[in-house]
């Protein structure tokens, strides 16, 4: 009699344990379905150097340009179904843009503490070119001149788990900043700052499109 009682209790215990395990796995499975890769936009840095030889004479303050690029990229990537976007706040972006420190830490097998656990992929953006192309032609008062802003951005995606670069792309844009024709009539357009912002926005939009296409 006691033997049967033990067998019956054993069955009950085993069934209860299996039920509990099933519940845990089912819940885990549901949350796993919800888990998506996390992508963090670390920020944009500039590789444009103002030296005697580069001759870049654009007046737009650089930090504002970089902010335009980051915000446009963030806006384009936000809401994407394939990943969750983690965006660092604007005020702290500058501190986190220190790629050299980040790369050095990864080289030693570490993730810098402020980035640890934030994402599966880190996106680094760069302003690689910001210049003006000037063209002119004509003679004897029949002449034309224009200035075109040329902006180029690039983007690198780093796998946070391995430290390897897994995707690199670049995009550029050209926008007319000034037009001046001297013939029967004259026309003058001046909009350098607007042209820079538009060129940067276009380039960032194209970067985002290439990022999504590569997934």
């Amino acid at each position: 009699m006691a033997h049967r009682w033990f067998i019956e209790k054993g069955r009950l215990c085993l069934a209860a344990m299996l039920l509990a395990l099933t519940a845990v796995l089912a819940f885990g499975s549901l949350t796993a379905e919800a888990a998506k890769p996390r992508v963090a936009i670390v920020g944009f840095t500039s590789r444009v150097q103002k030296t005697d030889i580069t001759l870049t004479d654009l007046k737009e303050p650089l930090p504002e340009i970089l902010t335009v690029a980051r915000e446009q990229l963030t806006a384009e990537l936000a809401g994407e179904a394939k990943f969750d976007l983690y965006d660092f706040g604007a005020q702290s972006t500058k501190a986190r843009c220190d790629e050299a420190a980040f790369v050095e830490a990864l080289g030693a097998g570490d993730i810098v503490p402020e980035l640890a656990g934030k994402a599966d992929y880190y996106v680094f953006g760069y302003l690689t070119t910001l210049g003006k192309v000037k063209a002119q032609s004509g003679a004897l008062g029949l002449s034309g001149r224009d200035k075109t802003v040329h902006a180029e951005l690039s983007l690198r995606v780093m796998d946070a788990h391995t430290g390897a670069i897994v995707f690199v792309t670049k995009a550029d844009s050209r926008r007319k900043a000034e037009l001046a024709y001297n013939a029967v009539w004259q026309r003058h357009d001046s909009g350098e700052e607007d042209a820079i912002a538009e060129a940067i926005e276009d380039a960032a939009t194209n970067l985002a499109a290439q990022f999504k296409q590569a997934m």
Partner: protein, 284 residues
């Protein structure tokens, strides 16, 4: 309550079937679905010429190169330090991965057809003497014949082993190294050119580089020399005016873009096929 062994086994079967029907978490792997085509690991993009290009320019070049390769259907990967700036400045034999990549690059250069010991960075000249011996660079007839050749060659055996180990770690079959050996900006001096504060008198920029595609498994190396030139000049002659002007960064960007596309085209058309072969290759 009566629970039969049959019901317990049914419950167990349900339990074990669950992981098969559920979707596992895919926290990573967003870029795992790379094209089915070839994949290249960028080992180093640096300047081993007489004059070093700025680190920022090397970084921009590698971004352009990666994009150009992607346009050719070739997937690109690399270490976090994509240009290997750290390894370029490490001492020979320091032993870490960055230094090893620099040494593989230098090994490919000194065994290559384009190498000229008289026009190189000090580190490369030092490595060449270590790897080949000074006497090698005095065999002028042999070197002249080698320069005319375009044959695929191999890395030194120890560098071949190192390349295979690093490539295996990153899951790559091929490694790419670029030596941006000579980027030269010359300001033109023409009496007709504009004399604005920024535009000066026109500019001319030439780029000379070599790239090395390595089959990490066999150590076979394909080498190619690429050269490009661009000019920008605004000219005023009397009442007439013509031409275009741009700053050096923009001009440099255009030259780098063209050079990167040339590399990607050549990798696709020739490089990969050359290093895939198993034919006899020289150990030079």
């Amino acid at each position: 309550m009566q629970i039969s062994w049959k019901n317990v086994f049914l419950l167990a079967a349900l339990l074990f079937a669950l992981p098969l029907t559920g979707t596992p978490a895919q926290a990573a792997g967003l870029f795992g679905g790379t094209p089915a085509g070839d994949s290249v690991f960028v080992g180093e993009v640096q300047s081993y010429g007489d004059y070093e290009l700025k680190a920022d320019a090397c970084a921009t070049f590698v971004d352009k190169l990666a994009e150009a390769l992607r346009q050719q259907g070739i997937a690109v990967s690399g270490r976090a330090d994509l240009t290997n700036e750290e390894g370029r400045h490490d001492a020979i034999g320091s032993g870490d991965e960055a230094a090893e990549l620099s040494e593989i690059h230098m090994d490919a250069i000194v065994h290559g057809h384009q190498f000229d010991r008289g026009y190189t960075a000090a580190k490369l000249a030092h490595y060449a003497d270590l790897a080949m011996g000074r006497a090698y660079f005095h065999q002028e007839e042999r070197l002249a014949a080698w320069k005319k050749s375009t044959q695929v060659y191999r890395l030194s055996p120890d560098k071949q082993r190192t390349a295979a180990a690093i490539a295996a770690k990153y899951g790559a079959d091929y490694m790419l190294f670029v030596n941006l050996k000579d980027f030269d900006v010359r300001l033109k001096h023409s009496i007709f050119a504009t004399h604005t504060e920024r535009e000066t008198k026109g500019k001319k920029l030439s780029a000379s580089l070599d790239y090395y595609l390595v089959n990490a498994r066999t150590g076979r190396v394909y080498e190619k020399h690429i050269e490009n030139k661009k000019t920008a000049q605004m000219v005023n002659f009397g009442l007439g005016k013509t031409g275009k002007g741009m700053d050096v960064d923009t001009l440099l960007g255009e030259v780098m873009e063209t050079s990167a596309k040339d590399i990607a085209d050549d990798v696709k058309k020739h490089g990969l096929d050359e290093v895939k072969g198993n034919g006899t290759s020289l150990v030079h």
